[in-house]
Symmetry: C2
Subunit: 479 residues, 2 copies
């Protein structure tokens, strides 16, 4: 029947229109759908399965280091939100307010959590008494709401899914170590599991989280040269503890304020994957989070023995990998395109001649490289290919980052680099004054992304004012 | 130090005050905490770990039968909620309304989802075209909000966590089979994993889900003789499909409305566990969902070799079970009480004399039975004990249900049974008229819980009006 014939999906080329290419992938790879609820998205099964894999890996890392999951209310009373003054100033303009319960007007309005520091603090005040109650290492998987004006799937939406870690410690040193440990946890996850290189660094004062003493972030560079803040980790000192009157009796029997951290990554990770690895044929998924790691496509599947062999390989491989066998009657061309669109890391083709020769063909998604491999020991060949994919996409993303990193010593050099080579990460010195930070952005278009841990001395002087430099900053255009 | 000395926790006896006993367990077993957000609860690590285990088991059952997880927005526009008239009538009075985003008044107010049929239907209308797109078997894990007046932890709170399955099928038969399959899935989970006997049945017309053709439920009887609706499964026919204009081309190329189901269980399950198995010493957890299945308590742990042996047993048992070793300096009495309060199914005690004899002591939580077992083959002994716990608590709960089930043929018999033996499940005939249903409740206090699948003919006549009976109904006082 006409309406059932499946068409090969077309997407915009990324060189032609990167933003449209991104949206096309989100839709055509069946990651999301829109609804009549403006600014919110529907995460479809294929997209949600990626998120489940991300959750599984991170959750197990968090638990290995002693973190426990909890669930806080999704509402925050207005008075609770107002307890820490920097925090409310940062978040109040972008929260959704509940004012009615059924037909009754609420006596105090409630916001839908944009983040849960205030809720955790109220709870910590109830349960922390003694140094023996510390540290408290908590994490929460939930959705949060921020009333954004312009939204894009995964990158910026009014509601998004995330995890938020919230911890309390007896000393400043412990809390600072936790902040950096969790930043490292994110960086390791991005590099090793997702094949995405990241820049680890500290945010400048003007870019800190509302209420934090220090905010650290991992920044990743997308295909188009724009930077994506992919995860953050905050050290709060005892500011919230003072505002919420959280105290404990220390070992010397003295009443003390504990030190606090929070850290989070969100469904933004999926946006980072799309824009780090995707190409004009669609998504390219890191094997660690791919819902399907290997798709088996039988060739000439009507010939005797082909489907049986394909099913046998599926059973074998399913013991170690996430495998799908597509024995539908869609054309081979449609199937190739469909699983490329969906970014399946390895495609396995098997036909009558392969069966005769006791081999099959493995095709890696990121470079379309074909390899004929023997069916004996197929499992190890597939494992090696999956590792090749992770390594290959990481190298490619790292090349992009290196190629698009510009060391500059003047505003003019920044302008020239950006106009010659396109958006990227500018490494340049800064005096530490907010005025210069703003001026660099105004004059060149790149804002400060972070003061990276792998700093270097590019010159003695601020790239903007020429006064003595305090920090080397990574500048970029942010998502 | 005085403030660090841990006190054995006391709870109210369940015979004295069942409601207070329940609340005490929720607090003292560290399941929940309250916050300033009225009617919402904080699920603490120990409570949340139980929920994670429930999720893990159910999610894998759902996936085995082909269901896929998705994520829908948490908001529903007012116009979307109003599309199906019975549905909006049922839910509008109890939803929380968002009216402001930041400082801007919304042009259309949004409710926080009380359930997501409308969102799923809008999405289904987008993605279902042909019979080849069916069935759609979706599930979502999320939190929902219903603006209840009186709330109790796990049983009835303004926000609660749940899963909601939403499926679409080509035929009525398929959809009805799905509705019953998922009800069976819940019943199996309750019986086999949680050790809670349930009554499977259909709700009467007056007690159906808003918008459903038929609602099925599993009902469990709590310690105090009250019934808890523990899971529901709905068949919608094509009512929502018509309201949302969801159509597909069937095999005969005819435009047709698909048939729909939804089904859900919530954190209420934890309430059911507490009130089915708990006792005056605290929680009693079914091994399948216990965050700690075995707690190892070293006896005379200062003596040489004891802690080493305890740690060795922990390593061994951790390969198969969830194990905690408590080698803290809290007293043995405190530890016994603490892990009884937390409902840990098996306690393992090991001291110097045990080590000499190559044995240890296993104590099962539900009956405090002590068994000396050899350390060789300990794993199998522990597995057998865990099975004993599941079987033991199931038998006890089933005894409670049987003892508290009253077959009655008149209003007077119902009154007598309830006043003589306390609340329970009344099995009595019904003519099918809502008037009689209401009158039974008015006169005796028990409402219709369901028309059970294991019906029997107790008499020919309605227990209330004496006219010919249509159904046997299970009546009870509901949580």
């Amino acid at each position: 029947m006409e309406q059932d014939k499946k068409m090969v999906k077309q997407i915009t080329s990324m060189d032609e229109n990167f933003a449209q290419w991104y949206t096309d992938i989100c839709k055509k790879a069946d990651l999301i759908d829109y609804s009549s609820v403006k600014g919110c998205m529907i995460i479809r099964p294929y997209g949600y399965a990626i998120w489940e894999n991300i959750q599984r890996i991170l959750d197990s890392k968090f638990k290995e280091t002693g973190h426990e999951n909890v669930y806080m209310p999704m509402f925050i009373t207005e008075s609770l939100l107002q307890k820490e003054k920097d925090h409310v100033a940062g978040f109040a303009p972008e929260v959704a307010w509940v004012t009615y319960g059924g037909s009754e007007k609420l006596t105090e309005r409630l916001c839908v959590r944009p983040t849960s520091e205030t809720l955790f603090c109220e709870h910590f005040a109830n349960i922390i008494r003694s140094y023996r109650d510390l540290p408290k290492l908590y994490n929460q998987w939930c959705s949060v709401v921020r009333w954004e004006k312009t939204t894009r799937p995964f990158l910026r939406s009014r509601e998004f899914l995330w995890q938020e870690g919230h911890t309390m410690h007896a000393t400043r040193e412990e809390a600072e170590a936790e902040t950096l440990r969790q930043l490292d946890c994110y960086a390791d996850f991005f590099i090793n599991e997702l094949g995405i290189p990241v820049i680890k660094g500290r945010k400048t004062e003007s870019d800190k989280f509302a209420g934090a003493v220090a905010t650290y972030a991992i920044e990743a560079l997308m295909h188009d040269g724009k930077a994506l803040q992919a995860g953050t980790s905050h050290y709060f000192g005892d500011g919230f503890a003072r505002a919420f009157d959280i105290t404990f009796t220390d070992k010397d029997n003295k009443l003390t304020y504990p030190h606090q951290t929070s850290w989070g990554v969100s469904t933004r990770v999926i946006g980072a994957i799309i824009m780090s690895h995707g190409d004009d044929n669609g998504l390219v998924l890191p094997p660690a989070v791919a819902p399907i790691q290997v798709v088996i496509l039988p060739v000439a599947q009507h010939k005797p023995g082909v489907l049986e062999k394909a099913a046998e390989l599926k059973d074998r491989l399913s013991k170690r990998f996430k495998v799908r066998l597509d024995d539908s009657d869609n054309s081979a061309g449609w199937k190739f395109a469909e699983y490329e669109m969906k970014g399946v890391p390895v495609r396995l083709e098997i036909g009558p001649r392969d069966i005769e020769n006791n081999v099959c063909v493995l095709v890696t998604r990121h470079n379309r490289e074909k390899t004929v491999v023997g069916l004996d020991g197929l499992e190890d060949a597939v494992a090696a290919k999956l590792k090749e994919v992770r390594d290959g996409i990481y190298r490619k993303a790292l090349d992009n980052l290196n190629r698009r990193t510009y060391k500059c010593t003047s505003i003019d050099e920044i302008k020239t680099a950006l106009s010659d080579k396109g958006d990227g990460i500018v490494r340049a010195m800064w005096c530490g004054e907010e005025e210069c930070e703003d001026k660099v952005k105004e004059l060149t278009g790149v804002g400060s992304r972070c003061i990276p841990f792998d700093s270097e001395k590019i010159s003695d002087k601020c790239v903007c004012c020429g006064r003595p430099a305090k920090h080397m900053v990574c500048w970029g255009v942010a998502y």
